[in-house]
Structure formats: C-alpha cells, structure tokens
Symmetry: C2
Subunit: 252 residues, 2 copies
DNA sequence: GCAAAAGTGTTCGCACTACACCCATGA
DNA sequence: TCATGGGTGTAGTGCGAACACTTTTGC
C-alpha cells in the first residue's frame, strides 16, 4: 500500500517540484495447505486499498519509510503491522522507481521479501482488508505489484535451488519429507525422496534430533532441526545468486 | 558523491522532521592494464569530495535522483557525467539505507553497478577530482562506500561465474584468450585454456568471425563476437542468483 | 629449428539421476 | 499381512578438471 494520500491534490507543476516519495513494501510468503489437495502451497497476504488510486484493488503491504527505522526494520515493522507475525527470513528484493508507477505522485518503492514459519502463519490475522492469496495465479493488483510479486517468486525459487531457505518456511523441528514438500511446492516439480535425503544429510546446519513424529499413518519419521543463522540481513545471496560477501551458497 | 550540501545546517529536530533524502550512486568497473605486470586488472573511477562531510576523501560518483529520470537512467547519466562514457552493462546493486550513513542528513542511496568496455575506458576523462583506482586494496572512502564497493565486487565475481558478463568488459571483437584473461583478472585465479575454450564454444551468443588478431608474437588467434542482448536493464540476474524472470543463466 | 601460444583429444573423478530394494509401522 | 511411507544401495550419465598432445606462427 503506497501511502500516496499525503500528497495534497498534486498538479503537474507541483509534481515536478516535489522530490520522489520513498516507500517500503514487503512480499510475504508462507506455506498453507491448498484448498483442494491439502498439500502445502505458497500464499501471501495482501491489503485492500481503501483510497484512490486503485481503490478497491489488492496491494502489497507497505507504507512510507519511518524516520527511526532502517530499511530492514521498516520492512519488518510493516510485516508485523499487517499480519502480526515476525519474519524468519527477510531480504531486500529490489528498488522500483519507474516514473509512472503511481498516477498521483512519483514513488520509489524499496521492496523486501520475507518468509514466515508455517507454524506461526496459521495464527496470522485476517480481516476485511487483509487476506491471504495463493502466490500463483494472482488477480490484478494495484500499481506494478503483479510484476513485483512475480519477481519475488522468481527470486524465491532461485534461492531455493541453492541456499538454505526452505527451513525458514517450516517450524523448529521438521521431517525430511516436509522439507521435500516445501521444495516441491515452491519449485513445482517432483523430487526423488531418496536422492533428496542424501543431499540434505551432506549439508551442514541440518542435525537430527532424537525425536520422531508420531501420529502418522505409517512408520514415524525422524525430526530434524536447522542450526544455521537466523536471518540474512544483508544483500542478495547467490542464486544465484546473490548473498553477502563471504557467505558462499550451500547445496541444496 | 552524496549531495548532502543542499541541507542547510540541519539541527536534530529538523533532521527528524525531514524525509530521508534519495540519492543514486554507481560503481563503475573497467579493465585497465596493471602498472606492474601490464596484465588487465579491475579499476573504477572515484570522485573527490570537495565539501563536508568527508571533504577530501574519495567517493563513488553519484547525486540526487533527478525528477525526469528512471533509476536506471539516473545511474547512466551520472556515469556519463563523471567519466564521459556509456555503460555496456548496468544493473541495480542494492539500496543502502542505514540510519547514520551520512552525518548530516539521513540519505538512502540506490546503488547501481556498471561495466565499461575496455576499448572505450581508455578515453575516459580524468581530472584533479576524478581518478581511476584499482578495485582491490582501496584506501578509505567516504561514507560507507568501501562496503558498497566490496559488495559490488562480490556481485561481479558471482555473475562472472555464471552469466555472460565478461564480454561487456571487452571491445566488439576479442580473442578467447582475452576473455580468459578477464576471468582470471576478476576471479583472481588461473583458468585452464583448453577447458575454457570448450566451454565458451558451447555457449550461445559467441560467434567466430573470419578475422584473426595480427601483430602478436605467435600464432594469430581467431577473433570472436558477442551477439547477446546489449544490457540487462532488469533486476538481479542469478548468480546467483539473481536475474530477470525467464532469463536463466548460461555457462560459463 | 625453437619457443610459445593456438587449438584438440582423452582420461578421471564427482555429483546428480533413476530406480530397485529392504525396513518399520498402523490398520 | 498388507499397504505405505521411511530409509539404503547401486549402476548409469553428464560435466568439469587435469594434462598430454598436435598445429601454427614469429624470430
């Protein structure tokens, strides 16, 4: 939601005189069970616009950059304000600064993307003007937000192929099959369970616990824990590319 | 160069009231022969600060975001203004928005990084206040610009491992050995000529010409031409990660 | 002819794939 | 005991690393 409302009826000359407004927006991903299959799929929360421009359309949560917050803090704050949740992963996506993104005033949006643990995501607040949507096949959004979501999706999938991202979508303890389900949900393809297991066992930061998941229909699988850093606060991160200096990516 | 000078002696309360200033900076890379070995190495142009803060120190070229330019255009403009050159590659690096990057006013810098063809780079203007420096082992720069350059270097190296980036540092026609030299200069390691050649021949967008480079001491090597797109104007690009949707990376 | 770079061929090891197979459990 | 997912073994495959080798030029 770009808060263009603080611009008082700008005319052309005013518009040219004013500096571009600076806003922060966030693309928030979480795993939720699909309505049909019940298998985990990607969802994200959107906010309904209650003013012009694009009144009535759905948009990414966001707002102006508050003075006392760093960019990252501002993104985390606006995540908390809309969903009530704290991100388990948060990273800058891109700065969008096209000349005509907003019809009234020129707005430069610095966009972050975040992952929220599925165990917490169930507690997320919904309301008349805040709802979760499936990440693919979105309707038309306000501003250039479709483009932004698509880019965020691309980046998420990219990161998933390399980095240790998947665990941020799960709870503290998880089975290897759950991790595999995350991969399959995000990447939209089947993954061989046997090979996937072997790859994970080679990677650092994944350690087995003594516990097993009970209550399933079959043999109880072992639970694992992720012991990597909590959240990357710095640029990029491979996937391709991209990631902070001195933090080479790990597989898978 | 962050133009903090348009802030008229801000005191604390004024500072809190003002919105953060928005600036564009650019990290510009080009290949130049090393002073010692004569082999190509990475250089970048810096601008001397002629006002406080950090008066006398060197800084990245930059300035406020001009109203009529997109972010990318603004970066290209400030590249042209400082070096007189046009970039052969230009991509957004990161938005830096820490609270205390500039001592006077809060500044959010959207930073781009660029590659300039070596054939053109020789024509670049230098002056008292604009000079080229070797990209590694830089002295202390103004603001957080050391950090920014290091991140840009990391990103360049990352992209080099995947993408088709190297050609943007060369002229229109080049030998395969020259491409290899670029890789070696940027990545700081030896590359096997035989394997490197084979890899390049498999990649698209590299086509042989009928010409050979004359004047060498030995057997004249064939010249090649790069036929890919001119410049990526969109986000990221793998390597890692990062890159526009629908543009998977190619090897090498 | 000799030195050195251009360019080719061949082998090795490794990581990923595919798929067959055993194991443990709930119903 | 049977169905099902957990978990292991193993052979095939493609790609990059390493390096020996041939070719072509300048001196």
């Amino acid at each position: 939601m770009e808060r263009t409302e603080f611009v008082s009826a700008a005319n052309i000359s005013e518009r040219l005189a004013q500096p571009p407004a600076l806003a922060i927006s966030t693309v928030i991903f979480a795993l939720r069970p699909s309505e049909k299959t019940g298998r985990p799929t990607l969802w994200l929360p959107l906010v309904r616009r209650i003013r012009e421009p694009f009144k009535g359309l759905w948009a990414l949560p966001g707002g102006p950059l508050t003075q006392a917050d760093s960019l990252q803090d501002a993104a985390a704050r606006n995540l908390r304000d809309t969903t009530g949740l704290a991100p388990s992963y948060l990273e800058q996506l891109y700065a969008f600064g096209g000349l005509h993104r907003s019809p009234s005033q020129r707005v430069v949006s610095i966009v972050y993307w975040a992952l929220v643990q599925s165990t917490e995501a169930e507690l997320a607040q919904e309301s008349e003007n805040v709802q979760w949507f499936r990440a693919d096949g979105l309707q038309e959004l306000a501003f250039d937000h479709n483009e932004i979501v698509n880019y965020a999706l691309w980046r998420l999938r990219n990161k998933m192929e390399y980095g240790s991202i998947a665990y941020h979508l799960l709870g503290e303890k998880f089975t290897l099959a759950q991790v595999r389900e995350v991969y399959e949900a995000v990447l939209n393809r089947k993954v061989d369970p046997a090979n996937f297991r072997r790859q994970l066992k080679q990677t650092p930061y994944i350690e087995p616990t003594d516990e097993f998941l009970q209550g399933g229909k079959h043999r109880p699988p072992r639970l694992y824990r992720y012991t990597g850093e909590d959240a990357h606060t710095w640029p990029g991160g491979k996937a391709g590319d991209i990631g902070p200096p001195g933090h080479p990516p790990s597989r898978p």
